[in-house]
Assembly symmetry: C2
Homo-oligomer: 154 residues x 2
């Protein structure tokens, strides 16, 4: 189980690197159902000229158009970095009940500078439906992607 | 000023009623710059099969593709009902600094039943940039739209 978890997280990191190659921010996310990847998404903030186009929001938005509520309730969302408050809200609305993240929002903030940081557990704590959170995992690998990206932007 | 504020809010209520006519949920939002409506949006959750398609997220997403950051920093977002946590996050990412809402999230919860209610002021309090919130205003008119809609869905 742990090995699979690491494999999915490394796939999310790979998606984050792909996003950078596309000219976007280093974030990737994927949806796992029954041990298989059902869907992947990357950040498209720059290519779409739209700061709501985070990897998790893109993923969830696509997932709802493609899968039904029962399917989504059985999925785990893996994301290269802890979801922001907007994406945490979107994950709730999608009915997804499990989230695993790599790099924490706090670590991202230390690398990328002051921003809107609300730990996702604090958001999910107010959900009437339990949402299980695992993370940070493989944080040094996730943080390394941000360390390469953000200092060059600032 | 107060008269204009009421006029914009009633336009948001009208958009919420339009959303219902389209087969969606009763929410509408608009962006005001220098006393003029720059953009409007409605909830499209059902028509898009996507529960992230709240009126405010639709509005902000479209606004970023259309206007630059300086323009958005000078806008007020009017919304028929207090923004949820996802939309509050989106409003932050868009760089919008003023929000006026009609019906409160708490009143909506009393009408529509248990859901994910985090007051938007609680979310914005953690923003490194101040976001001014006005509301509820004309709440009875906003609540009436929800009272007609939600009991029929439950």
């Amino acid at each position: 189980m742990m090995i699979k978890q690491d494999r999915f997280m490394r796939e999310a990191f790979e998606l984050a690197r792909e996003a950078v190659e596309n000219g976007d921010h280093p974030f990737g996310a994927l949806l796992v159902k029954d041990g298989e990847v059902a869907l992947t998404a990357v950040n498209t903030v720059n290519t779409n000229h739209d700061h709501t186009r985070h990897a998790e929001l893109n993923l969830v938005s696509q997932a709802m158009r493609q899968f039904d509520a029962d399917f989504l309730a059985d999925c785990t969302l893996y994301t290269s970095t802890e979801p922001c408050v907007m994406c945490a809200g979107a994950i709730y609305w999608a009915g997804i009940t499990a989230v695993t993240y790599g790099c924490s929002a706090q670590t991202l903030q230390q690398i990328a500078g002051d921003d809107f940081v609300i730990p996702c557990r604090q958001v999910f704590a107010q959900s009437p439906r339990p949402i299980t959170v695992v993370g940070p995992i493989l944080e040094a690998e996730g943080a390394a992607i941000h360390k390469r990206f953000w200092p060059a932007q600032l």
